[in-house]
């Protein structure tokens, strides 16, 4: 009886992944994966880091996940609920998931809707410090209609309901194991956090924090033929370049993640013929942000780079759109891509670069640099060249402080862009800050990207999943970081536009993919045409795998290890 079900499940998986499932479980021996940033825990709810989320994705699974094409596919759910199949209620206020009925935890106990409900309670406990709490925003209640039917009700209509328990950042943990680990006791459960019981293809044998994880095939995995590998060694530490070398040159490892290294080096390593570099594009965009508030160091902590509702603290120079546009026109993203990213990036003119239906085509002009137009714009704005070539107006020099995190590619970009801007008469002072401080978010540090104590800054941001609603809502007025919010908030530019806020509100009410795409494009175009953000490069997730490793479908929408059950040794 169960055998038949297993067979069915296997054939479903086959249909999705087209992987050769001819081998039996564990037939392919050891799989060696290297992540140069080592996971510090196996509980993704206690650490928001990608490395922890991806490591955990081998063990614990969500209801549904995203495929390499950005399509939502069932994991622990039997099917994806939609309006058509009745899984989503007409008022968009609830979603009902049908769970697979034959799933066992790695300890042999059955997986039920109670585990899903427990996970929601675990993560929303205010004392637990759950890092993935945003996935459960708007969830009013979860109830089990029967052991394998989960109904989630929302406080208000949720046009995009695939957030809670969907994707690798929102997996389901076992209620029995974590029952004693809720709230303030969550961090103390070292054993549970390091060795979670899961439904995924592998289970933890030994977890060494920040070093190495040893896993073995989950004997209770729902597909009896999978995974093909008997064990996984998940090594961490070191740097990206040597991780790439261990796969592409020495062949010691099968898979290396997140290889942010210079394109020439990567090409050279790939030429050794041991493995392949694979790139997946999702939503990461390297961008330049323009500060709409005054970052003058002479201002006090309640004034400097603080947005005021009355617009009184606007940036003295960058408030003029002509200056912002000139800065953008002077940049050539094509050249930057070639220099900094090679095939792991592509020039973009949108801050919302994917999935495809959301991508606007209205801003392509940004890809061609036009220094003359930039100069004309500055002339028009009243900035005239001074004796040293730097433009001046009313005794002020056209001079900006341009900051970013310490990173070889970013410093190279800074130098090139400074050169371009100096050609149009803009003086640039460069600054780089250690990434741990810049992105550290310490409200007491003056050097965080949120404080934005500079005129211009550059970094990469993205959104996880496939729905851009929350991402596009970042640029609404009330999300500006300021002392009152402990400098928290995502509107780093301090951009504020009534029109944009209205679109964001409309977005949150609109259902239906096409309609939502329309709004998202409009919001993207506002940000682009107001030159709030100067997008540079659509960055791909770059990984490498050995030629002997089959089944890898690199995925930037979900964990890169999303289909590790299908990975196998190429004979």
């Amino acid at each position: 009886m169960t055998g038949l079900k297993h067979l069915l499940a296997a054939s479903t998986a086959l249909a999705f992944c087209a992987g050769p499932a001819l081998a039996e479980r564990g037939a392919d021996g050891e799989l060696k994966i290297i992540y140069w940033q080592a996971p510090s825990t196996m509980n993704p709810f206690l650490s928001g880091g990608t490395k922890e989320v991806e490591a955990a994705s081998m063990v614990i699974e969500p209801l549904a996940r995203y495929s390499n094409t950005g399509e939502i596919i069932p994991a622990l759910a039997a099917e994806i609920p939609t309006l058509e199949n009745g899984g989503i209620s007409e008022d968009l206020k609830s979603i009902t998931w049908k769970l697979k009925t034959d799933v066992l935890w790695s300890d042999g106990t059955p997986f039920t809707a109670a585990d899903a409900i427990f996970t929601w309670q675990y993560c929303t406990n205010p004392e637990g410090g759950c890092a993935q709490g945003a996935y459960f925003d708007g969830v009013a209640n979860m109830e089990a209609l029967d052991p394998h039917t989960l109904k989630i009700t929302f406080t208000e209509a949720k046009p995009f309901p695939y957030t809670a328990l969907v994707g690798s950042e929102s997996p389901i943990i076992q209620a029995a194991q974590f029952a004693e680990c809720t709230g303030s006791r969550a961090p103390e459960c070292t054993e549970q956090n390091f060795n979670p019981i899961g439904t995924g293809p592998f289970r933890v044998v030994e977890f060494r924090a920040n070093d190495v994880i040893t896993l073995e095939a989950n004997p209770n995995y729902r597909d009896p033929a999978k995974p093909a590998f008997a064990t996984v060694t998940f090594k961490g530490g070191g740097d990206a370049e040597s991780a790439a070398r261990s796969v592409l040159q020495t062949g010691e490892f099968d898979y290396a993640w997140n290889l942010q290294i210079s394109p020439e080096v990567l090409n050279e390593m790939e030429a050794a013929g041991q493995g392949k570099v694979v790139v997946a594009f999702a939503t990461s965009v390297e961008r330049i942000l323009v500060n709409f508030t005054n970052p003058d160091p002479a201002l006090g902590p309640d004034e400097r780079s603080v947005w005021k509702e009355d617009g009184s603290n606007a940036h003295p120079i960058l408030s003029d759109i002509r200056v912002r546009k000139a800065l953008s026109r002077a940049i050539d993203p094509v050249i930057l891509t070639e220099i900094g990213y090679g095939k792991t990036g592509r020039p973009t003119c949108n801050v919302l670069p994917g999935p495809d239906i959301y991508v606007s085509t209205a801003n392509e002009a940004c890809k061609t640099q036009d220094l003359e137009e930039a100069k004309a714009l500055l002339d028009e704005a009243g900035w005239v060249p001074g004796p040293d070539g730097v433009r001046v107006k009313d005794g002020k020099r056209l001079s900006f402080l341009y900051q970013t995190s310490t990173n070889a590619v970013r410093q190279e970009f800074q130098a090139i862009i400074k050169e371009w801007w100096s050609e149009i008469g803009v003086e640039t002072e460069l600054r780089n800050i250690s990434a741990s401080v810049f992105f550290g978010g310490d409200p007491n540090s003056p050097d965080t990207f949120q404080k934005f104590y500079a005129d211009i800054e550059m970094y990469t941001n993205n959104f996880s999943g496939v729905d851009p609603e929350a991402y596009m809502a970042q640029w609404t007025c009330e999300k500006a970081p300021r002392p009152a919010t402990q400098w928290q908030g995502e509107n780093i530019n301090r951009f504020c536009s009534a029109e944009y806020d209205a679109l964001a509100a409309e977005f949150s009410r609109t259902a239906g993919l096409e309609a939502r795409a329309e709004i998202a494009k409009k919001m993207n175009d506002i940000l682009m045409q107001e030159y709030v953000i100067i997008p540079l490069i659509h960055r791909g997730g770059t990984s490498a795998h050995a030629n002997s490793l089959g089944g890898v479908l690199i995925n930037d929408w979900d964990s890169e290890l999303w289909n590790i059950a299908d990975w196998h040794r190429v004979k």
Partner: protein, 337 residues
């Protein structure tokens, strides 16, 4: 000498307490927030709760004494329990120094990391001494000979070339070109037979040699200088006048006297073994104590950094004392009474 050692140990207690306070205070006052690395989606109230659960709500001085209690009493007890399997007192509810990043006890992390650090860094130190002492002796005995010139050149290289460069060079040669040695250290490897022992030797070879080169350069220079000092001493001429064999002159008279300062230098260097080798451990992914410290610093894991730093301080104080006592043992002219 025992009395001297006991007195020195007593004197070092206030020193260590002062160090512990400074270490704790410096790291505590440094601007860092345990919740800084958490995602922005976590509201400030939750962050505050996390800080409270980590014990940050209490005044500085209380936290210091709590940490001191945890470090000096609870952690040693916990380690003892793990080693002996006994249960001492109320071990269930004993508060331990918890790492903020991994949420596990700091000493557990250290105990997990120590074997590979001791193996690799310790072995490199042993190799360094084994290479450096004969090198220094021969270099000094045959001063300005070809051997001495080559030895001087190599130790200059060892001194001046940073380990990240030699490490990379070795990886390119031995892992990429020749494919003889693994470039990544397997910390889970267990030695149980000759094959696995051979693998352990192979994976230790490169990190050990990189560190040994740097250490040997230093020690061999000390050895050479000390030998040169002693070779021209009158008692060496006396020994020759006695008609003692040249080997005996060099090994018994000169080497023994020359080793006094070198042994001290070697003893003072031992704490650095426990400190690990941050750069080399990163390159070869040995992931020992050095790598632990650097990840602790990068992720604002203050309890981890405080504990490690304080352990280093203790080791340095202890090995200073050992070096002093060794001096007394080796040199009869020095008496601690």
């Amino acid at each position: 000498m025992l009395r001297y050692a006991a007195r020195r140990l007593l004197i070092s207690i206030p020193t260590l307490l002062a160090i512990s306070f400074i270490v704790f205070a410096l790291l505590d006052l440094a601007p860092s927030d345990p919740t800084a690395n958490l995602p922005l989606t976590i509201p400030p109230e939750v962050r505050e709760k996390i800080r409270l659960s980590l014990g940050l709500g209490e005044p500085f001085i209380i936290r210091y004494f709590k940490w001191l209690e945890q470090f000096l009493i609870n952690e040693p007890l916990a380690v003892l329990e793990q080693m002996t399997g006994l249960t001492i007192g109320d071990s269930e509810n004993r508060l331990r120094v918890l790492s903020w990043a991994t949420r596990s006890p700091v000493t557990d992390l250290i105990v997990e990391r120590l074997p590979q650090t001791l193996w690799v860094v310790g072995m490199s130190y042993v190799v360094a001494v084994v290479i450096a002492v004969p090198l220094g002796v021969i270099s000094a005995y045959r001063q300005y000979s070809l051997f001495d010139q080559i030895g001087t050149f190599i130790s200059m290289l060892g001194f001046s070339i940073p380990t990240f460069f030699t490490g990379l060079l070795l990886i390119v040669i031995f892992s990429v070109w020749l494919g003889w040695l693994p470039s990544i250290y397997d910390t889970t490897h267990v030695v149980e037979d000759w094959d696995s022992f051979w693998f352990q030797v192979k994976q230790m070879a490169m990190p050990t040699m990189v560190l040994a080169l740097a250490n040997a350069s230093q020690i061999s220079r000390f050895m050479r200088a000390s030998m040169l000092d002693n070779l021209t001493q009158d008692y060496v001429r006396t020994a020759r006048a006695k008609g003692v064999r040249e080997r005996t002159v060099v090994l018994l008279h000169v080497l023994r006297n020359s080793l006094i300062p070198v042994v001290t230098v070697i003893a003072l260097g031992v704490p650095t073994i426990f400190g690990g080798a941050i750069v080399t451990e990163q390159i070869f992914r040995v992931n020992g104590i050095g790598a632990l410290l650097i990840t602790g610093i990068e992720s604002n894991d203050i309890p981890l950094v405080q504990t490690l730093t304080f352990i280093f301080a203790i080791l340095i104080v202890v090995f200073n004392l050992i070096a002093d006592l060794l001096y007394g043992v080796l040199d009869p002219r020095i008496r601690y009474d």
